[in-house]
């Protein structure tokens, strides 16, 4: 058994696995940045209630939020070619993750803004700020502080969800571990231990960060 572990963790295999971790992190970071920006914009649009527009955006957000991420991955990777666009695997994965996670963040942002006391906006308006100035300078900064723990936990699930992109053959950790244990069944357990550990370390660090931010804010 021990020999299996030693054989499985050969330098080549480890390098290959860590390359997968690199792709996991690359896809996660780009999607985090993208979904944070798009999600915040969508959340604000949903909050401010522009006639018709906000309702339509809100409905689209709800539709995407209630679909499985795997389905969205299929749409971007297998569906888009039918419309004449053929994305590479990594952009397709990033696109799907960004679309899905921005709708999740939009909900967090909207409820975060709603949680800010309405007196803040009234005070800002009474002091001569416009609605948008009040939103940008007074309400949003306070809302962001409140939202940080929820946002970080959303990013944790984003990192975990990158594993779903193995279904479109994104060469990340899980996919690469399958290739390694596909060559030698003795490597199955060592590979599962390795990727479980790698995911755990990344996500656990993020959840410790989330808990620290939650405590600091309370």
């Amino acid at each position: 058994m021990l020999q299996n572990f030693i054989d499985a963790y050969s330098p080549d295999n480890l390098r290959y696995l860590f390359g997968g971790l690199g792709i996991t992190i690359l896809v996660s970071v780009v999607s985090i940045i993208g979904s944070f920006i798009i999600g915040s914009i969508l959340g604000v649009i949903r909050y401010v209630k522009i006639k018709y527009f906000s309702a339509i955006v809100g409905f689209i957000i709800d539709v995407i939020r209630n679909l499985p991420l795997i389905l969205i991955l299929f749409f971007t990777y297998f569906g888009l070619p039918n419309l004449g666009v053929k994305p590479e695997i990594i952009p397709a994965a990033i696109l799907a993750m960004t679309i899905f996670e921005s709708t999740m963040l939009a909900e967090i942002v909207r409820s975060g803004i709603q949680a800010v006391d309405s007196g803040q906006m009234e005070g800002a308006r009474a002091n001569g700020l416009t609605y948008w100035q009040g939103l940008w300078h007074i309400v949003l900064p306070q809302a962001m502080v409140k939202m940080i723990p929820a946002i970080v936990s959303q990013f944790i699930s984003l990192v975990k969800d990158t594993s779903l992109a193995t279904i479109i053959l994104l060469p990340e950790m899980l996919y690469r571990s399958q290739i390694i244990y596909g060559q030698n069944t003795n490597y199955i357990i060592p590979m599962f231990v390795a990727i479980a550990l790698m995911y755990f370390v990344v996500c656990y660090c993020l959840s410790v960060l989330a808990r620290y931010l939650e405590k600091r804010q309370a």
Binding site: D62, V63, R65, N66, L67, P68, L69, I70, L71, F74, F75, F78, G79, P81, N82, L83, I156, K160, D161, S163, L164, T166, I167, L174, Y181, T185, I188, I189, F192, I195, A196, Y199, F200, C203, Y204, S207
Partner: protein, 212 residues
């Protein structure tokens, strides 16, 4: 998309049934497991709290797919043979139970501490007080987040497609590859998912508003 429904309604319905069956089984079992671990976390014993903490952290921080694949790939080799549906449901149960444990714990903590003190002062043991006084009150707070967990469960049950669980997503792939109309096939599957998830999440939002 309409003709996908017309031509493949049997396949789609079967997939929908498997998805619902898996989600409901996983919900029931993860509710039991999750409540159990939430109670352990709130118990006076340090060891019990430690066990619960480790369990929750492990299953919250490892991707669902890795857990499911573990049961699908490793278990048959060393322990017991199981089909994709069973492996998927077990993985989903363990994964969701960690989140439900956190939800239930938050619910327990939101019950006023005077309730426990009052129960103890009236001669109930810690577990009796939990069972008869605290949990019934906690579950009222917990219903909206649990409903949202169920929506997540339905969505996450699509990982069954990886292990040949014949769920909706799996059937969607089958239809997409046999009809070659990927967009129509995936749209049909999407509509069926929304039929389950949208009403629940709107109802939970309504409940949240009413409770607040």
């Amino acid at each position: 998309m309409i003709h996908i429904f017309q031509n493949y309604w049997g396949t789609l319905l079967y997939g929908l049934g498997q998805t619902l069956l898996c989600s409901i089984l996983a919900l029931v079992f993860s509710l039991i497991l999750g409540t159990f671990f939430a109670l352990l976390e709130e118990s006076p014993s340090k060891v019990a709290r430690g066990i619960a903490r480790v369990y929750i952290e492990i299953f919250r921080n490892i991707p669902l797919l890795v857990i499911t694949m573990f049961f699908y790939v490793v278990f048959p080799l060393y322990v017991i043979k199981m089909n994709g549906f069973t492996a998927g449901t077990i993985g989903l149960t363990l994964y969701t139970s960690a989140f439900i444990a956190e939800t239930v714990r938050a619910g327990i903590q939101s019950v006023d501490s005077g309730q426990m003190e009052g129960a103890r002062a009236n001669g109930l043991s810690f577990w009796q007080a939990m069972r008869h006084i605290i949990l019934p009150q906690a579950f009222r707070y917990v219903i909206p987040p649990l409903g949202n967990q169920f929506v997540n469960l339905v969505k996450n049950s699509s990982t069954l497609a990886f292990v040949g669980g014949f769920d909706l997503m799996y059937q969607g792939n089958v239809i997409a590859s046999s009809s070659l109309e990927t967009i129509a096939a995936y749209s049909a599957v999407g509509v069926l998912y929304l039929v389950i998830t949208m009403p629940i999440s709107y109802y939970m939002r309504y409940l949240e508003k009413r409770l607040a």
